[in-house]
């Protein structure tokens, strides 16, 4: 019974601490955020538009008076320093009372590492871009929310889209980066194909290291496999290097490329026309829904004015993360009728929250994963610019397994009829 006698004062102290923290707080002078993204190396080609989206969003929020009257400022942390440094920085910022909210992180690997720490440090955090479905499998986090959906919905959408687009596909090759995101996507694509078109053969499966500078040998290997479709969820500098290196070697003359994160590279590299690309969610600033909601156009205009480029989907994802955060503050203030919410009130307010983002509706499920629609399209040149055409918008809800079910097993239970019931390419214009 020594244990209880020792534990009692600790438990009492913890209760006291919790009680103190749960009480409402005074309005701070500014709302300081930690924003985590890749800002150096190859992955920065994808991470920097995210950061730029945050900058534009902060300007826009502050121009309207901030979040509940409090101006927003951000400290940017470079995820390229490796997870150890990212964790240390996250802890350093979270333990500093000046910081109220974290928008972290871009990489799935970093989200897996940060989510338990968010709970340990009671720091409300939004995973703005990471999407591995392993994040919430068997984990019940209180402080870590992810408004942009997960790999299951995303990669099922690609598999369904290219099956609809190329019904006689028989040989598929996969080349993904070597970490949870790449491995998850490969599992999901293979499981989906097996369920709805079992005769498809996987002829090559490669996992080069994230941030590789050359893919020449992999390109030879892919050419030798003669696939109809090359599926890849490479991103940033990897994706750009791969397309630049593979296109001259004729890989895309014989195989259709499916670049899951391709929309982010349309402005920086000649993505072959006819490739299938998407935005991992609904974050396409030119989509019909985005035009109807009307927030994306002023955002794109401000973005263009500041950075001389159109926003790509990482910028939109980041902007949507800011909108979700803003909604969370407003909801927490209203729910508790306080001047300024505590971290616990913020986390509680996000539970089950629904909000309209720049590009569609977002609802948090019970496991804190966001439900968003999935947008997939085909690259074509319109007015000299590469854009997404022939789009399909898949309903977020139907693409996710019921809570608590093993996702890969759930995909295995799907039938070809599931594919037949899906919206067709070109149905969303």
């Amino acid at each position: 019974m020594r244990k209880t006698s020792f534990m009692r004062p600790i438990a009492a102290a913890a209760a006291l601490l919790a009680a103190g923290a749960a009480a409402a707080e005074d309005k701070p002078e500014s709302l300081n955020l930690g924003v985590f993204t890749f800002m150096s190396g190859g992955p920065a080609a994808y991470g920097m538009p995210g950061r730029q989206g945050a900058e534009v969003m902060i300007d826009m929020i502050n121009a309207e008076g901030g979040v509940a009257g409090v101006p927003v400022s951000a400290t940017y942390v470079d995820e390229a320093q490796g997870a150890e440094g990212v964790i240390s920085e996250y802890r350093r910022l979270s333990e500093d009372p000046a910081y109220g909210f974290m928008i972290a992180a871009l990489s799935s690997g970093n989200c897996l590492a940060l989510a338990p720490i968010a709970d340990q440090l009671n720091m409300p955090t939004i995973g703005w871009n990471c999407d591995t479905h392993q994040l919430y499998l068997g984990n019940d986090y209180q402080f870590f929310y992810r408004p942009n959906g997960n790999t299951i919905a995303e990669f099922m959408a690609y598999a369904l889209y290219f099956l609809d687009k190329n019904p006689d596909v028989s040989r598929v090759a996969i080349i993904n980066p070597d970490y949870s995101f790449g491995h998850d996507a490969a599992e999901i694509v293979k499981a989906t194909l097996k369920a709805v078109k079992p005769e498809v053969e996987i002829v090559a499966e490669l996992f080069p290291k994230l941030g590789s500078s050359t893919f020449q040998t992999e390109i030879s290997r892919l050419s030798a496999a003669r696939p109809d479709v090359i599926f890849s969820n490479m991103w940033g500098g990897d994706l750009e290097n791969f397309i630049r290196q593979a296109a001259p070697r004729g890989l895309f003359r014989t195989s259709v490329g499916v670049f899951a994160l391709g929309e982010s590279a349309l402005q920086s590299v000649d993505v072959p026309e006819g490739s299938i690309v998407g935005v991992l969610g609904d974050g396409y600033w030119m989509s019909p829904d985005a035009q109807e909601i009307g927030l994306a156009a002023p955002f794109a205009e401000a973005y263009r004015a500041k950075f001389d480029a159109d926003p790509v989907f990482p910028s939109v994802k980041m902007a949507n993360a800011f909108l979700v955060m803003k909604a969370a503050y407003e909801k927490a203030i209203a729910d508790n009728n306080v001047e300024w919410p505590s971290k616990e009130q913020l986390a509680a307010a996000m539970e089950g929250m629904s909000t309209t983002t720049m590009t569609g509706e977002m609802t948090f499920r019970e496991d804190n994963d966001g439900v968003v629609d999935q947008l997939v399209g085909t690259v074509a040149k319109v007015d000299g610019k590469l854009v997404m055409t022939d789009m399909a918008r898949y309903d977020g809800e139907t693409m996710l397994p019921p809570l608590g079910e093993d996702p890969i097993a759930w995909i295995g239970s799907l039938t070809p009829e599931f594919l037949a019931a899906m919206p067709k390419p070109g149905s969303y214009e």
Partner: protein, 299 residues
């Protein structure tokens, strides 16, 4: 069977060519100066950055595209002349006669400094300059399309190997270098200016590293971290061949490349491990490398 083996062979040689330049530079510096230059990989990436920046500038300035070819070699030469003599004269010279620990640490310090200097000068974004690759076109070998640039690099690597061989065996400077390698004290006693030899050898090493980096740019992206990754690969090759062995580096480049290509073709999960597993296997049997000999114990 042959049909599948030919692409494997071409890929292995193309990979070997890229590794060879940087590994042979590392091993050459070691053979003359008896110093393992941990900053060698940084000089490779600086060569790559300079070449890519010059290449992009040539295209942006509207100059004739063929100028990008001489620009690759000139970038490497520029890098070598800028860094080689200065580094050898100041940092490296100070470590002669000091313990290996001091020598390794001084070059590690240099590695850290050069890594950040690159970030400051060239920024942190990935850059890509592929004009020379686009100019040379493509060939089909064994049913697979290769870049003529990749094939040209194999030729260049062979030429550099033969050139180094001739330089060391035939030229006066080369013979003097060989004498210094064979016996430093006796060469000094016979009136060879060893300090000058050290500087020449070190600068030649930097040239080879920078040339490796420059030649790689048309088919690879250049980004921070390239130096640290290249360093270990070059090191693995040099260790397999035997530190200080020029021919050893060539043979080891092919071995490492074959291991890597075989892994990508038949066991992709092991692609990054293969070079190091080969290295471990070789070193377990021959700790001083395939062509190396152990140093005599100091009394």
């Amino acid at each position: 069977m042959l049909q599948t083996l030919i692409p494997l062979f071409v890929d292995a040689l193309a990979n070997a060519a890229l590794i060879f330049f940087v590994a042979v530079g590392l091993t050459l510096v070691f053979s003359v100066l008896r110093i393992l230059n941990v900053a060698h990989g940084s000089l490779y990436s600086i060569g790559a950055y300079v070449a890519a920046s010059v290449g992009l500038w040539i295209v942006a300035a509207g100059l004739p595209a063929w100028l990008t070819f001489p620009a690759l070699v000139l970038s490497a030469a520029f890098t070598a002349l800028l860094f080689g003599p200065v580094i050898e004269r100041t940092l490296i010279r100070w470590t002669y006669g000091k313990s290996e620990a001091v020598q390794v640490l001084v070059t590690f310090g240099l590695f850290l400094i050069l890594e950040d200097l690159q970030r400051m000068v060239f920024g942190v974004q990935s850059i890509y300059a592929d004009t020379p690759m686009a100019l040379l076109g493509i060939s089909e070998i064994g049913g697979i399309v290769y870049l003529n640039y990749q094939l040209a690099l194999i030729g260049l690597a062979v030429a550099v190997l033969i050139g180094l061989r001739l330089f060391i065996r035939r030229s006066r400077t080369g013979k003097l270098l060989a004498a210094v390698v064979a016996d430093r004290e006796v060469s000094q006693a016979m009136g060879i200016d060893t300090n000058k030899m050290f500087m020449i050898a070190f600068t030649l090493g930097v040239l080879l590293a920078a040339l490796g980096g420059a030649m790689a740019t048309p088919t690879t992206g250049v980004a921070p971290g390239l130096g640290a990754d290249t360093m270990v690969l070059a090191f693995a090759v040099a260790a397999i061949g035997g530190l200080g062995q020029v021919e050893g580096a060539a043979v080891a480049s092919v071995i490492v490349a074959v291991a890597k290509v075989l892994a990508i073709y038949y066991a992709p999960a092991l692609d990054a491990v293969a070079p190091y597993l080969v290295m471990l296997a070789v070193l377990l049997v021959r700790p001083y490398g395939l062509f190396g000999a152990g140093a005599t114990r100091r009394i």
